[in-house]
């Protein structure tokens, strides 16, 4: 017997599976009991089985090296799942749907009348400074009025148990393939647990994604040709692009495979000649999509693609310009945006956010830099951040200068203590910080993944969950309560 929950050190932390004192939370009791019945060797066997499955299934993320021979690294995976009770998840799911619905209305409004600005809910000067607002998209009516078809929102839980939305990724969010593969691995490693527990399946995502994409086709009567557009094999998320294409039965294309014809329709080059494309699930950033409309030297995109999209001859998911709502300053307005468009209160709260562009809030931030986390408005992947409590005086002074120089570009949030979940470390379970990225699909209907991708910071005490920086992942179980 190797995992002793009584010794599990979670003082001062909120743990997803355990209460202080070694009692499991509702929904996690059976799992925790089972884990503590396993011997060292059994745990070792399970871990080896998981590693083997990951290797055999070829689950990788890409780190390119010309001479290294292999460009893929095995996906770091922890075998202890993270559990969320069904009742709690239902509330989160409703909150995510609400959020994405409001965000889509907001984006559509920004590219049309901008009523939200005229009504004084969203400041014009913030819009004017937005790095992801695309003038090229003004007046465009994408099918179904949807701009962000695929949204990945990051959720975190604070010390007191409250779940917050940390950010919304509306450009090209990734990670869903790992969510799907993690479940496959778990089924191989712990088949007995799936026998008895009401663990809700996750594997309908690819068909939901296909339906969502197909519902935006400009030729709804016919069988739509859906393709996945990838920047290519050296992109870090290439595994996912190939995986999703395969799972949906869609072609995986690169920019050079597509051409916009004189009729402003998009075609792909096939051995049978040009074939019309209806929907492009693009995993290429806005600015590289079309050298005619954006970066003129982009090799990844398709000349004229924006023209074809504007003409309504092809659907792009996500729509160009959807990233305007994927901005940490815009983020701070989401509760007001929900209120404005839906006349509802936000179900999932935002992390309290101070906008440096506002003088009072800026003064507060500058006076409390040692307590706050400062983030640039438009970066993703954890770049360019200041974690005040852990930073040196010099770093804080540097950020104070940056904020004064360009206040619109910075926000600050209180330092949250992310919740933990038991993670295997040398045969023991130790608490490690986690977040959760569910994916929300908006097409004819709205769909939320069952749970999402749980990312875990494998280093002790760390809250950095990115796979490129020592993060791993876990399977996420939505289970019925145990009463």
């Amino acid at each position: 017997m190797t995992i002793k929950w009584r010794d599990y050190p979670i003082k001062g932390l909120y743990d997803e599976l355990m209460r202080p004192g070694g009692r499991a939370r509702d929904g996690a009791r059976a799992l925790c009991k089972y884990l503590s019945s396993l011997k060292d060797t059994e745990i070792e066997e399970r871990k080896a089985a998981a590693d083997l499955a990951i290797q055999a299934m070829g689950i990788t993320f890409t780190v390119y090296s010309q001479e290294g021979g292999s460009i893929d690294r095995a996906w770091p995976f922890d075998i202890i799942p993270r559990i969320i009770p069904r009742a709690e998840w239902d509330r989160i799911e409703a909150g995510l749907k609400q959020r994405v619905q409001a965000l889509n209305l907001f984006i559509d409004d920004l590219y049309h009348e901008q009523k939200v600005v005229q009504d004084g809910v969203f400041p014009a000067e913030i819009l004017a400074d937005s790095a992801n607002f695309r003038e090229q998209c003004i007046g465009v009516d994408p099918p179904l009025g949807v701009w962000a078809h695929i949204c990945g929102s990051d959720l975190v839980r604070d010390q007191d148990g409250t779940v917050y939305v940390l950010e919304d990724n509306l450009r090209v969010p990734s990670g869903v393939s790992y969510m799907l593969e993690n479940r496959q691995v778990m089924k191989r490693v712990f088949p007995e647990l799936f026998d008895v527990r009401g663990i809700r399946p996750v594997d309908e995502y690819p068909s939901q994604l296909y339906d969502c994409l197909a519902s935006t086709s400009p030729r709804p009567a016919e069988h739509p040709e859906v393709v996945v557009l990838t920047p290519g094999i050296y992109n870090s998320a290439y595994f996912e692009h190939a995986y999703l294409a395969q799972q949906m039965g869609a072609e995986l294309v690169e920019g050079s495979d597509l051409v916009v014809g004189e009729d402003d329709c998009v075609y792909m080059h096939t051995i049978e000649g040009p074939a019309r494309v209806d929907v492009i699930y693009r995993r290429v950033d806005d600015l590289f999509l079309d050298p005619e409309a954006f970066h003129p030297d982009s090799m990844l995109g398709v000349r004229g693609l924006l023209r074809a999209w504007k003409a309504g001859n092809v659907a792009l998911a996500n729509a160009p310009g959807a990233g305007v709502a994927d901005d940490k300053v815009v983020y701070s307005y989401v509760p007001e945006i929900i209120k404005y468009y839906l006349d509802q209160d936000a179900i999932i709260p935002n992390v309290p956010t101070y906008l440096c562009v506002d003088k009072d809030q800026r003064d507060h931030v500058l006076a409390n830099l040692d307590k706050l986390v400062v983030k640039p408005a438009n970066e993703s992947g954890g770049y360019g951040m200041l974690v005040g409590p852990h930073a040196t005086r010099k770093e804080r002074e540097r950020f104070a200068r940056l904020i004064r120089k360009n206040p619109r570009n910075y926000i600050a949030q209180p330092m949250l203590t992310l919740s933990t979940t038991p993670t295997l470390v040398d045969h023991h379970a130790e608490p490690r910080h986690v977040d959760l990225r569910p994916f929300i699909l908006s097409g004819q209907e709205t769909y939320v993944t069952t749970g999402g991708l749980t990312r875990v910071a494998l280093r002790k005490g760390s809250t950095v969950v990115n796979s490129s920086q020592g993060g791993g992942s876990k399977d996420t179980w939505i289970v019925e309560g145990e009463g």
Binding site: G69, S70, L252, S256, I271
Partner: protein, 325 residues
């Protein structure tokens, strides 16, 4: 099927076949030289001619002696047709179609590349070269066999077979052309010395010796060897047979009418060739014409199935550069 995918499969097959053929060529030449007395040894220069790289070779090396030629053909990355370069290109092509070919096939290509790169010094040492090249040949055949046994025999597989067979036919014509040049009667009726050994080496370069004996049951003589290598319908490395394979693939593929006509023309040209009456000059002219025909067939395949935006990515060097970005 996407044009890019078809093109990558086609080139992957061509490069693997090229590496295998080059390995065979070097091994057979080594053996041939050991069998011949010094004064009639053709040396290593013919291999440079066979691979069609005289000028490029001369810009890199002063002499065509064993050490330099072998280095050039096995491990010189400046030579885009060296074994190492070929397998490297095959690997880059395979990498982009990892989701189309079976996973094991990609792993084999990757492993073959890593092996021949890691063991390069063995390939350059006279004593260990034979085993090194044998491992190249076996590695290439393993990939071919793996693909035959596990890949969907769909359009993609047609492109694989076409690539392999066009490369094969091309190499066979090159070997015939260059080798027969030193194998002409010096005076009327007088056989060149060691003719038998040299024609045997031609056959062996193409692993054709045993099959030739089984099929022909006559001594190894010029006319019979040429007929076997050019016109035989059953020997997999005979030009006629290779074109038959290409023809079968084209029958499957869409938009192949013009291509099928080209293949038929080439096949007629081969089967009607009056091999017994071709003297050296005419044989050379014939293989030249045949090679041009094969090159033309390749261009037509490229134009029909791969090319778009008015540019062709079919040149190996361009392909390699493209695959590396």
């Amino acid at each position: 099927m996407l044009s890019r995918v078809a093109e990558n499969i086609y080139w992957m097959a061509r490069y693997i076949e090229r590496a295998e053929n080059t390995a065979r060529l070097i091994n057979v030449n080594t053996h041939l030289l050991l069998d011949l007395p010094k004064d009639v040894r053709p040396g290593w220069e013919p291999l440079i001619h066979i691979t069609g790289s005289e000028e490029f070779y001369r810009s890199l090396y002063e002499q065509a002696e064993e050490r330099s030629v072998v280095r050039f053909l096995i491990g010189d990355l400046r030579n885009s047709s060296s074994i190492l370069s070929s397998i490297g290109h095959a690997r880059e092509n395979a990498r982009t179609i990892r989701d189309i070919i079976p996973r094991e096939a990609w792993e084999q290509v990757n492993e073959l590349y890593l092996n021949i790169k890691g063991q390069l010094q063995a390939g350059l040492s006279e004593r260990r070269r034979y085993d090194y090249l044998k491992s190249v040949i076996q590695g290439a055949q393993q990939i071919t066999g793996l693909l035959a046994g596990t890949m969907l025999h769909d359009f993609g597989y047609d492109f694989l077979r076409m690539g392999r067979n066009l490369e094969r036919a091309d190499m066979t014509t090159r070997i015939i052309d260059v080798r027969s040049a030193n194998l002409l009667p010096t005076h009327a009726g007088e056989l060149p010395p060691f003719e038998h050994a040299q024609w045997m080496s031609v056959l062996k370069s193409l692993t054709a010796y045993q099959m030739y004996r089984r099929h022909t049951q006559v001594a190894v003589r010029r006319t019979a060897v040429l007929q076997f290598l050019l016109q035989n319908r059953q020997f997999p490395r005979a030009c006629y047979h290779c074109l038959g394979e290409v023809e079968a693939c084209l029958h499957d593929l869409p938009r192949s009418d013009l291509l099928l006509r080209t293949v038929a023309r080439l096949q007629r040209m081969i089967s009607e060739a009056p091999v017994e009456t071709l003297d050296h000059d005419r044989l050379h002219a014939f293989t030249d014409e045949l090679q041009l025909g094969l090159a033309d067939l390749h261009s037509q395949i490229t134009a029909t199935y791969f090319a778009h935006d008015g540019h062709s990515a079919g040149v190996p060097e361009e392909r390699a550069a493209h695959a590396g970005t």
